[in-house]
Each structure stands twice: as C-alpha cells, then as structure tokens.
Symmetry: C2
Subunit: 628 residues, 2 copies
Amino acid sequence: MAERVQIAPTVRTCPGNADGGRKMFNDNSSKTTVRDNGVIKGAPRPNNRRRIYVTGSNETIKVPFEEVLLSSTMEANGSTTPNDPVRLYFTEGPECDPEVGLDELRREWIIARGDVEEIEGRKSQIRDDGRKRQRLNLLGDKQETEVPKFLSKQRSVLRAKSGANVSQMYYARKGEITNEMEYVAIREGVTPEFVRSELAIGRAILPSNINHTELEPMIIGTNFLVKVNSNIGNSAVTSSIKEEVEKLKWSTHWGADTVMDLSTGPDIHTTREWIIRNSPVPIGTVPIYQALEKVDGNPAELTWEIMKDTLIEQAEQGVDYFTIHAGVLLRYVPLTAKRVTGIVSRGGSILAAWCLAHHKENFLYTNFEEICEIMKAYDVSFSLGDGLRPGSIADANDDAQFGELDTLGELTQVAWKHDVQVMIEGPGHVPLHLINENIERQKRVCFEAPFYTLGPLTTDIAPGYDHITSAIGAAVIGGGGTAMLCYVTPKEHLGLPNKNDVKDGLIAYRIAAHAADLAKGHQGAKQRDDALSKARFEFRWEDQFNLSLDPDTARSYHDETLPATPAKTAHFCSMCGPKFCSMRITQDVRNYALEHGVEDSEAVSLGLEEKAKEFVAGGSQIYLESIK
Amino acid sequence: MAERVQIAPTVRTCPGNADGGRKMFNDNSSKTTVRDNGVIKGAPRPNNRRRIYVTGSNETIKVPFEEVLLSSTMEANGSTTPNDPVRLYFTEGPECDPEVGLDELRREWIIARGDVEEIEGRKSQIRDDGRKRQRLNLLGDKQETEVPKFLSKQRSVLRAKSGANVSQMYYARKGEITNEMEYVAIREGVTPEFVRSELAIGRAILPSNINHTELEPMIIGTNFLVKVNSNIGNSAVTSSIKEEVEKLKWSTHWGADTVMDLSTGPDIHTTREWIIRNSPVPIGTVPIYQALEKVDGNPAELTWEIMKDTLIEQAEQGVDYFTIHAGVLLRYVPLTAKRVTGIVSRGGSILAAWCLAHHKENFLYTNFEEICEIMKAYDVSFSLGDGLRPGSIADANDDAQFGELDTLGELTQVAWKHDVQVMIEGPGHVPLHLINENIERQKRVCFEAPFYTLGPLTTDIAPGYDHITSAIGAAVIGGGGTAMLCYVTPKEHLGLPNKNDVKDGLIAYRIAAHAADLAKGHQGAKQRDDALSKARFEFRWEDQFNLSLDPDTARSYHDETLPATPAKTAHFCSMCGPKFCSMRITQDVRNYALEHGVEDSEAVSLGLEEKAKEFVAGGSQIYLESIK
C-alpha cells in the first residue's frame, strides 16, 4: 500500500469538505434543502439518512453523498456530546421516470471541450434486437418492441471529431483535469491531481462514454475505494425491459458501482437503451453476445465486420466499458483440454469455437488496434475478458489462465499506446492459498492496470451459497489490490438471479469490498465501522441500524426478540440481553480511567484499589442490574 | 503446512479404507444394510446419500460416514464410466428418541481401561436450575421442571480413581492408542499413531469427558480438518428444553462438530442434561454463566467454592470442554478503558467486574491448578477463554487482547504439566490485514495449542449479515491454521438465533472451514470439489446437488428457472442456459485432445488444423445447437 496517496480521510463514508465555490442546487429528489457550509443537504429521510451534494469548482459539479444523522452520546455525568454525521458514498442517483430517463448532466461538459461532433449515428436494424425479435417479425408478429418515450427526443450521437481522442486517459496524459476527474476526486476524498495522475499512468480508469451523458462519474483503481459490479440482463426465456430497468435501480440502491447488461434475449438493443438512459453508474457489456445474436447463435459465422458494427452500435448508445475476449488465442485453447471444467466463460467459449472452426487467430486479437480506434472516439474503456478463467478449484492458476493473462498484458500496452483506458478481468474459482498469486501476477504482467475479478469462489461445494464462497475470495483479492469485484449471487451455477438474489449478492460484495478497504488501511472506510461500533457500545440502537449496510434488516432482526421502543432508546438497558451487559461494565472501567487520568500500570493499580472500595461501598448494585 | 502428516487422502470427504477386521453392524437408522469390502452401508436415502460405517480394530469402533452415490459419466463414444461414491464426514449421529437419549457407546471403552470408579456424584440442588427456577419455587409455583425419562435410569457418574488421570493427553503421552484415537484416525483418514502424537504434544485435543459416553469422538487440531462449533442455549426470556435439543439436532445435521450450550435461563442444569444425553458431538459450556446464576447474577458475590461446585456438577454431567476465562487478569482490565467497545465477552466482563469489586486477582487464575485436578479426573478439556477479545475493528490486536493471550500461553503450560487438554479461544472483530498476526502470535505464545476463534468479523458495518462478515475472517484464519471456528449467525449483535439462523450460520461456516481445508492443501477436501465440478461439467445435475452442502436449496434454486426433469438428466442440454453451453465446447476440445494425444504446442497446432476442417465440414452445427 506504499503507493496510496491519501489526501483526506474519505468516502464510502466521508470525503471531508471539498474546496471551491459552492452554489445552491435544486435537489429534485428532496423538496426541502438546507445549506450548510456550502454543502447542499436534503431533508432527512427514513433511517435518518439524507441526500447531500458537495459542489466543485463550478456549479455543474454536484457530487451526491448520503449523510447519516446521529444522536448524541450521553456522558457519565449526564451531559450530552453530539456525534458528527457520517457521509456515505452514494450510488443510487436521482429519482427519475424510467420512461424519460435521467438528466444529461454531463452533456455540456463534453460539448464544452470542443473535440466532439454530433452525428446522425448508425441506423438501427431489426437484427439489433436479437434472434427472437427477428423470428417474431418473420412470423408476421406485429407486436412491437416497447419504445421508450425518450427515444422520441431524437437524441443525437456524439463522436470525437476526426482524429481526436476523447478518452479521460488522453486528457489526463495531457495534464488536463476534467470535470469528471474533479467529480471523482470529491467523491473519493482525494485531490483532482491525484485522480489525473492515476489515470495518466493507467492505474485507474474513469469509464465514461461521451454518449452516457446521464453518468455520475466514478473511478476504478487500486488506490481508490474498492468497487462492486452487478450483472443484470435478460435471457431467451426471462425478463422484460421494465424488469431489467428495475434490476438496475435495485442494483444501484444496494450499492452497485457499475452494472453490466448481459442480455442475450429479445429486444437486446432496446433493453440496453432503457438501461443506459436510466443509469447513474457506468454500464458495461460483452458485445460479442449481441454479435452472436446477429449471426443466429453460430460462433463460426461471426466476422470482424459484424463485431465492429456491434461495437459502434453500442458505443453510440453510451456503453462505458466493453468486455473484449481478445486474449483467447488459438494456442491457448488446447491447454484447457485436461481441465476438470474446461472453458466456462461464455465469451471465451464463443471465441474458442470460432478459432477452432476457422483455425485462425482470434479476430478480436488481430483487429485490436482498430478496436482501440473505436474506443477512443467515444471513450469506451476496455475490460479485457478472461475467457479462459478457471471454472473450478481444480483448474485454478493453470497455464491456460496465465497464458491468457500474459496476452492481456500485451494488449494493455497496445491500448495505452492509443490512450485508451483498460481494466483486466480475473477469475473465477480459486482456492484461498492461490489468490495472492493471481493479484501479484496481474499487477506485474498488466503493469498495474486495474484488476476486475469475479469473486473468486474459494470452493465449489456450495451451489446456492456462492455469494458467500465468493465473498471470501473477493475480500481477500480486494485487500490485495483488486480494484473492482464482480458480484456473484446465490443462484450462480443454478439459474438467473431475481431481485432478491441481486440484493443478496450486492450486500455480500459490499461487505467484501469494505473488508478490503479496511485491509488496505482506508481511513475513511474505518470511520464508518468506528461510528457504528461506538453507537453499539453506547446503546444507540437506531444509529447502529442507520449506519449499517441494510438498516431495515438489522432493525427487523432486533425487533424479532425485543420489539419495544425502550429497548432501542434506553442507554443502559436491562432488557438488552447478556451481550450488552458486558459493555456496561466496560463503560464503568472507562469512565473511571478517564476521570483519574489512568495511563500506566502503577496508576492503574492504585486506581483499581480505589475503585474496589467504591464498588464494595456501593454494594456492586450496577452489576446486579446489568447482568441478568 | 510442513508439519502436516497426511496418511491417506481423506475426509469431510473420504478416509479411504481403514484396516482391521470388520464386523456387521446393526444400523438402527437404516433398516437395509449391505456389506461391501467390510464396510457396512445403509440403503440410499434422499439425495442419494447413505450412512456407512467403517469398523476399526475391534467391533465396537464403528465410524460413521455419509456416502454420496454418483451416476456414470457418459463418454464421447457413448460408453459410460462409473464414478466412485464420495464419502463425507458425518456429524449427525444416530437417530434417537430425545426422551431416552443416545446409546452409551463409549461406556465399555472407559470402564475397560480400569482407571475409573462409579460414584454417586454430587447431589443436584434447586439452585442448579438457575434464578428463575429458584424464584418460581419461592413464589410457590408448583410447576415442575420437565424431567427427562432417562434420568430414571439412575445413571451413575464416572470419575478417575484417586490419583488417576483419564485424559486422552495422558494416555497419548504414555504411548497408548485409545479406541477414541483410533476412531478419529479413521474419521480423519490418518494413522492412529499420528493422532496419538498430535495429542501428546498438545497440538490437538480430543474432547471426550468420560461421562459423555454417547460421544462419537472427534479431534481438534491444526493438522486435521477444520472444525465448526455452533452455539445454542436458552436465555431468561426464550426457549424450552425441547427447543434446545432440537437446535442441537439441527446443528449436527448442518455439520456442527461441537456444540456449546450457553444457556443462562431457567432449568439450566436440566437443559444441559438433555443436550448431553442426546449429543453425538462434544458439548462445551461457559461454567461461570451458571455460577453467576447461583449468586443471583451478582459477579461480586462469586467465589471459588461456587465455581468449583459448578465445574464438578458439569463435569459429572459430561461436558467435554469448559471455557475458562482465567486470562482476564486484574492488570489487563484498565487496558480496555480506551477501547471503542471495551469488554464484549460476557465471561470476560463478569471476571473484570469481580476483579474490580475485590481488587484481587482473577480467582480462576489463582485456582488454576485445582481446576486442572478436576479436569483430569473427568477428561474435560480447557477452552481458555478470550475475555478481552476485541469487539470492534478499532480494538483489534490491542494490548489488552495480546496481554491476555500471553497469559493463556502461560496457563497452557500449567495445564499440560497436568496432562490436561487445552485449546485457546480467539477473536472477535479483526480486519483482514491483522488476522495473520493473531494466528502467528497464538501459535508462538501458546505453543501450537489448537486455536478456536469466533469468526473473526472483518467489518462492523453489516449487522444482520455477520455470518458473512465473519465467514470471510474465519476462512482466512482457518487457512492460517486455526483448528476450530465458532460460528456467527446473522442475528449476532441483534438477538438470539432461531433455527434458520443456526442453519445460515453453519452453512457459512462449513464453507469457511472447507475453504480453509483447501487452502491447507487437504487432498481429501479437494476430492469433494473435484467430484462436484466434474458432475457440473458433465451435466450430472443430481450429482452436483447431492454433493453440495445443501442439496435441497441447490435443487430448488435450479428448479425455479428450469423445473423440468430433462433439464437435470440431459447430458448436453440446450435448455441449460448460456452458462453451460461453454462447457459443451470445452468437451469437444477435450475429446479431440485426448483422441489425438495432443500435448505440446506443435501437435496442438496441427490438431487444430485438422479440427478446423472437420468443423467446417460439419457445418459447425454443434455450436448452433449449444449456444442459444
């Protein structure tokens, strides 16, 4: 952690005060706003949380946080001491009508840079919405794809002017601090210059397609808070567009920092449009899924032209990062032959099938520079896919996996030559003792480009509980420096996640990411633990609930045993059960030590003698009260 | 892991075949038995699991396993290859009528050693059943405590003859291999001599009170499978005796290796009697909880005489290990004054209160040798309690915690002087990066006595999900060498666990323990992962479910999306969703590589060319089929 440059104690908890002139902001999601030291604050909502905005060096930079208001500490002498509110990193975005989508907050930033042009964009085709839609049309099914109202806006497409590069890495390398960089600096509690320098050397990415103007910028890198991705998306048999938008909202509500739309079912183009227009967080995709739909599911018929068309289609919609399986090289494919579970990545298997069918090198690899040209015209970031990741404990850290990783490192340098942002995807299934090798090797061969791992799952034996098998691995690899964790839900290996599974997966991964932040010594992260534990110790139950990842669940579990209000308000409550009596005794120890300035052993010994007399004189009644 | 002496690939999965003459055993829990190579096997039960027994060098040693029967692999050429059954470590014990209790399988072993005597034992007193029972009696409440039928058996109490030591450590140090040692050797798949030697040097314990004759012996040590403890027990407001017995059964069903009865409510003595008489696993307690009840909840009134009386009472009932907070020394108490959460251990706070009230040294410390005399007369093992464990991230690894740990190391040597078995309890709340220091320090200062940790929780911010925050820490500390993990349920910090919470806690901890076994390179553990992953790869859904920690949940999650039977029987099923199509492609890669003996890169390259032609000729139809 020597490289970490910590400017202010910060985030997922508290960024401290940002500098710069602050202006009043009309917060649509909360009618009441107050202004407090230049920070715009909404009215407290349930759980004593309220939305606040910290403005940057210009009024268009308004960074959202959630602030938890705490009650006061009751001191031993009966006086009270207020507790500072705790600021939480906030991913949910503003409320909006899903049929309209979010405001295009970033549009003026992008236009103002003067390096983009508005174009008509690629014409939408019927095959963009997938095979099922094509078939329905062939069969004369007149049922139309739902068209969101906002499409009637005739939204224009932005693209870099000819020869221009609009990637955040490009700006960073020129020494320019963009509004996006300042935004994430406030969000993370670091200086804008630190953000810029991390982007410039490729140790972080700021995924922000110029066509995703609704985005609230965020950053992914080992020297920032560990991020979490959730996967949503329909399949041939399940889900409607509105359900997917609901899963998006649900994901950001539970703390997803990015969301991948992995749809493979009908209306794939339209579903993505709805998702992006409603998303405050970066959206990632695996474009080859859609390309495969365009060739009716036959990998052998994939061509570079179809892939390129798909990349442009999605870039124009505003996808922020593409998973590109360009490391699945022909020579690595047979290395999977002796594995217990072969190739488990869908993208990896599609490319392997293509390579085998044509006995040619992976067309994503051979056309990689041309992909870079597309990426930099829209600022789409690479998420270089691990198509050969292990699918079982037995296959972890093998030659196929690490061979591909070497190639991803080579491709990282190609992308960086084009000033295109890159992160690297990682496994998968890895037992605990082999995790460290993954992160250390990735850092080395990929030159510290951000690592983005799926779990890893630390055992194969618990289908139905893979949010737990993988949260263990995720916390460990996150603590080791992984920048973003791709969640795994309880349904992994068994079925597509529903809304509850999305929540379970995200809570498990918020835990893993936070445990990793603590392991990395993140002071801002620890503030939240300390505030919660202080509330717990002081019997401030509501504060404890409100500071927790899931206040409603914490409250309801508590209320199952002790539903009465007094149990949540009494400071030293005899109803609280044995667990908390012990805290009462410590309170006495502490008060005594503080009053007498007890510091060293001798003083302690003297003090205890005095305390002992006092206790005997008082009949030790407080213990009788507290332990029952 | 250099010290690990692995005799046979083994357990939680498969101990291989034990040697010695085997006899037919009448398995009461399964009417049908078959005999197969001397191993007694019951009829398959749901989930294709069946109880089997491996007999040892004499017919009284019958070690239970659960065997999972697997279907055959369908090879590419249409032939089938059978898959060996997988043996699982089994903690559930035989079925029994809870009002009668389990058979006293160990009684004859103990008697035969000739070093015990049957005694009348301590007379039961009204105060043994706690304050509430006392008050009810004072109030003239005639409602009697439920008396289990087996008490009418007039069960006699066993105790070491005067001057004798009946601890397994004592026998081990004499070079004697007891039936208990042979039993656990079969269970763990190691030699009896290895078990003996680990017990002799104190690196493992075999908790087995001579009055817990119903016990199925097990071992706790860093060179054996990682074990899991579950806590049950009533409180002043909840639970009946029968509910607690049900929680015991539920615990062992979900894989608890030991169970602690932490009852503090009414009928504390009688509840414990029912639990022990029904328990196939070692039972642990915190005797000071009951001692405190005997003095009406006032720690200052505790005396060594009351504590001693309680230790003997519980030793005569058959408690296998006692948590003794003898390391909470007077001088450590003030070190907790500046903590965020002070003293969170109930036992620790009781002792701290006693020390403060009397300004005297902890009476468990000053009477420790006399405690050892009691322990060795019944073979009760020490679980030296960490009364000063950290209760928050902020307090981890502080002077109070490590001061107490040093004292526990000193006490370990005192206990070992008496040939009394010892394990050491550990934290608590510890962030990931501080976990390693805990295990390394414990090994050093406690001379490799087994470590038994509560979690640790790796963050404080997720009340309601502490089975997950702590499973992360448990897996890591287990992988580092912790011998037993004390589970944490979702209700930790919020309320007493119900039956579902017990299950959730145990599943999370079975995952953590297994992940730790894999990290320690346990070959037997890995066999289960490999068998499950092979089943997954070969679309043997039922085998995958049956090998999992919770087959019913895995099956039901699968069936939510694809309930049809064909989805669980088809070998290469187009209905299985995108995830599994990728496996189909690997199957082709693998078959090809095997057929052609492809080994090195050149051969691979040639092979691919041939494969490519074949694919193009075949119209690549299999992909069309598989990816949709």
